[in-house]
């Protein structure tokens, strides 16, 4: 896989040389490859937000480097500005940044800032609206007349319209109902597949992470402490819990079963996988061993 974003020995200190000095990131090394779906998890204050704001050049490293396509994003101010468009960042509750008179104009804000032609902007706005399921009629509405879930989609479309190579989302499903959550996740997967884009998603829901991502990065106290496929990371359940994180519900059930003396691997994190593991045990041929 070709790397698209490389973070090398990244450290960030807020308010240096004041009594409020605070190291948010220390020596973070990581790579995001083209087309992969990465989950970023960590306790509040673990440095996730600071990290993602370095990925699109909103924050400047105190030390260390951020490379996009092998080039330091701070090398040249023009390139730094370009990065904002190539690495799209969707903040938490993005609907609170809507400001234009129509949904169309709001989605067009990013592409307009890129200096694209009118036709190109139009194509992109419609394509982005398509990805998130915003209808033609809704495009001419005021964004403030949309429902909560549609507002969220319009705001995400505003970033997708820049057609970034890396799409970063900070808790994109926060505050939505189950159906709304699932449909936004599908929108994101659709964009990823169509553009072969890398996606970095911050989430507190382990179930959501488990069923969407290829790879997981775990942050704690400003460092990336673990990375790997979900099966790998979730097998360190005890460590995750000690960091104040959860493990997916299914993993919890299997781990508890192990504690209760059932010989079953805890290597499942979705309902399907857990059912696959448990089905043979329940249909006879169970091996129960007693624990001492």
């Amino acid at each position: 896989m070709t790397p698209i974003l490389e973070i090398q020995k990244l450290s960030h200190i807020y308010s240096p040389d004041t009594p409020f000095e605070h190291a948010a990131l220390t020596n973070v090394d990581l790579t995001i490859s083209r087309g992969e779906f990465v989950g970023l998890i960590g306790h509040t204050g673990s440095g996730k937000s600071t990290l993602v704001q370095h990925m699109n050049g909103l924050l400047k490293p105190t030390s260390g480097r951020v490379l996009f396509d092998g080039r330091d994003i701070w090398e040249d101010p023009k390139f730094t500005r370009q990065i904002r468009f190539r690495v799209g960042l969707v903040f938490q509750y993005p609907e609170y940044q809507l400001f234009e008179e129509t949904v169309y104009a709001d989605i067009a804000f990013g592409p307009k800032n890129m200096g694209l032609s009118k036709e190109e902007i139009d194509t992109r706005v419609r394509r982005a609206a398509g990805f998130v399921g915003i209808s033609e009629a809704e495009l001419s509405k005021s964004p403030f007349d949309l429902s909560g879930g549609q507002k969220r989609r319009a705001a995400i479309a505003g970033v997708i319209a820049m057609e970034p190579d890396v799409l970063i989302l900070d808790e994109p499903t926060a505050g939505l109902d189950p159906a709304g959550r699932e449909s936004i996740l599908k929108n994101i997967r659709d964009y990823q597949a169509a553009q072969h884009a890398a996606v970095v998603m911050v989430s507190h829901s382990m179930e959501e992470i488990a069923s969407n991502v290829d790879r997981l990065i775990v942050m704690e106290k400003g460092t990336a402490v673990m990375t790997g496929a979900p099966s790998e990371v979730f097998s360190h359940a005890a460590e995750l819990v000690s960091m104040g994180l959860n493990v997916p519900c299914m993993t919890q059930v299997l781990l508890r079963l192990q504690q209760l003396g059932v010989n079953v691997p805890a290597a499942a994190y979705t309902v399907e996988q857990a059912a696959d593991l448990l089905e043979p045990l329940l249909k006879g041929g169970a091996q129960t061993c007693s624990r001492t």
Partner: protein, 267 residues
């Protein structure tokens, strides 16, 4: 960054100055300002400075902090000093081009510097040693006689305390919205004045909408907690004068008396 702005410079403490009733402190600040404007000559300024020095010492606020906070006013202080310097009356001591410096000009300049510095440092002592909440309570209580004239005293103090509560929240929100729009390529740093003003629209619109939403939700939450105006309201901590407050009033009166006497003698 906006976050670095420190607001409501209050330094919590347990000194006698901190423990004074906010009403006492508010009245004393007014007395202090009147006394300061009665000052005519170095002796008077020395008395005021000594009074302030005593208050600073008692409050355990470090002199360095007080001086540091005078810094932003340095420009104004120097400007007024210069203006006074060149607009004096009488025989010039030195003269160049259209400027002349007189003895009275030098005097006025010095007095002006003293007056502004003492004024600002003195009023700062109020906010340094009194929490914003206590200040609004004190103000409400001092102004309560105006309620008889149907002045909305309670409403005003409620507004003040809610404003104080939400300033940090709104600053944080502004920061967030700015970052979000920057992520969509908004540019606040380049271009002429007009294009810069235009660039503020994507920040101001969401900020206003959010402020209105917050106001609306807060109003409902307040209603749910039985808020129905100032009528029949009680307080968690009611204001009560202690003996130290009477002592403080006494010293304020003494300061005023001394200043009046000194003024009579042109000192």
């Amino acid at each position: 960054m906006l976050k670095d702005v420190t607001l409501g410079q209050f330094f919590p403490g347990q000194t006698p100055i901190h423990k004074l009733d906010p009403r006492t402190k508010l009245v004393l600040v007014i007395v202090y300002i009147v006394a300061l404007f009665l000052a005519k000559w170095f002796v008077s300024y020395a008395v005021i400075a000594a009074f302030l020095a005593l208050v600073i010492a008692m409050s355990r606020i470090r002199l360095k902090v007080v001086l540091k906070n005078l810094k932003p006013l340095l420009f104004i202080i120097i400007l007024t000093a210069l203006l006074n310097l060149f607009y004096g009356q009488g025989e010039p001591i030195a003269q160049f081009w259209i400027f002349k410096i007189t003895r009275s000009g030098i005097q006025n300049a010095i007095f002006m510097v003293l007056r502004i510095s003492l004024l600002v440092a003195g009023t700062f002592m109020l906010t340094y040693t009194t929490s914003p909440i206590a200040l609004t309570d004190g103000l409400e209580s001092l102004l309560s006689p105006l309620k008889k004239l149907h002045a909305p005293v309670h409403e005003l103090s409620m507004m003040m305390s809610i404003a104080l509560r939400f300033i940090p929240t709104l600053i944080e929100e502004t920061d967030k919205i700015m970052s979000a729009q920057k992520a969509r390529g908004a540019d606040f740093e380049s271009g002429n004045l007009i294009s810069r003003a235009k660039a503020l629209v994507p920040i101001l619109v969401p900020l206003f909408i959010s402020a209105f939403r917050r106001a609306d939700e807060l109003a409902t939450a307040m209603e749910c907690r039985c808020y129905h105006g100032g009528e029949g309201r009680t307080k968690l901590s009611e204001l009560h004068y202690q003996s130290r407050d009477y002592l403080a009033y006494l010293s304020g009166a003494a300061l005023l008396a001394v200043m009046i006497v000194l003024r009579q003698f042109g000192l």
